[in-house]
Amino acid sequence: LAADGTYHALSATCTHLGCTVQYRADMGEVWCACHNGTYGIDGRNISGPPPRPLDVFDVHVRGDEIYVSRKREA
């Protein structure tokens, strides 16, 4: 849940060496403990070794339910 109230769903697999990343509320970023890589809440690789952004999933909120699905390629 981002600051602007929208939902984001990201793959938790670091694009660097496949560790499982975690969201750090204190940093406002997604962080990988293995090699200190950080991603933005939108999955963009910000710093550290990750070579590309995290995979992003589509999120749809319908009522009380949240649907997460694979991104449809345009």
């Binding site: 060496l17 496949g18 560790c19 499982t20 990343v21 975690q22 403990a33 090699h35 070794p49 070579p51």
Partner: protein, 359 residues
Amino acid sequence: VLAAIFRWLNERLGLDDIIALLKHKTVPKHRLSYWYFFGGITLFLFGVQVVTGILLLLYYRPGANEAFESVQYIMTKVQYGWLIRSIHSWSANLMIFFAFVHMFSVAFLKAYRKPRELTWITGMLLLFVVMGFGFSGYLLPWNTLAFFATKVGTEIAGQVPIIGKPMMVFLRGGDEVTGATLTRFFGFHVAVLPGIVGVLIAVHLFLVQRLGMSVPPKTEVEWVKDPSARRDIKFFPNFALREMMAWYVAMGALGALAAIFPWDLGTKADLFGSAPAGIKPEWYFLFMFQTLKLIPSKVWFMDGEVLGVLGCGLAGLLWVLLPFFESEQPSRPRKWINGLVIFALVYVIGMSVYGFLAK
């Protein structure tokens, strides 16, 4: 009766020859002789590993649902189980440490020179196998740190061009690190690697025995110039007793470390949990880990990882081939190799410390 048994055996095995060999075997004596002990200490710690490893095997159960619990059982319920496991972990680390000491002492004293190139190469292969032992054994308690270390380690193996991906799948027993990886690593750790290491140790020791101890180039030059200056001590009992003393000290240090600082078990691996903060590989992989960490994600057209893995591989290969760059004349040793060895030592220590301190 003993004499009769000895005679019977002697007739069939030629024990006299072996005894004569032991009587005549000597070890050169000079001011750097003490470096000769470190290979032996490594061997002693390997022996400890075999014995404690077999003991652990009595209770350990491989498998994602059992491994962690069985190690927990060993540490809490089995008599002296905690001590045996602690000794096994400590001895593993000390063995790798002393293997490194032994390797650098050989490199500095240029003991790898002709005719001992093969001894150096088998020694390097032993070091790689021992690190394989460390890597595979680390996973067996199936705790969080081990799980992620294996994940990253095998992922790095997967970065090698062409053969990397199949190698990674082979190591993991699938695309991901799972229970299948654990049973596989268990097999490597208790069956495959011991077989390989047994053969390598036999060849390594045979070569040491066959070629005798190397003497540092400077001393060798002095002794060739003035053969009366040469000093030797008998292998048996003089050197053997000194070696026993070294083993005794190693055993004391090992026992103290294992009892005072029992090895942690950590928490059970959660395949869906995120990597804990401050996660680091074992110290002997730290210098490579730190190197990989420092390489930017893209260098020119290559992925940083691929470059790092290839670089490390190439450096390792050159290191294995070190004897072939050395001059055959002990009076004219290659100075740049000394420089390279010093650089390697400083690099390994520096990167390890850096990796340890970095967050």
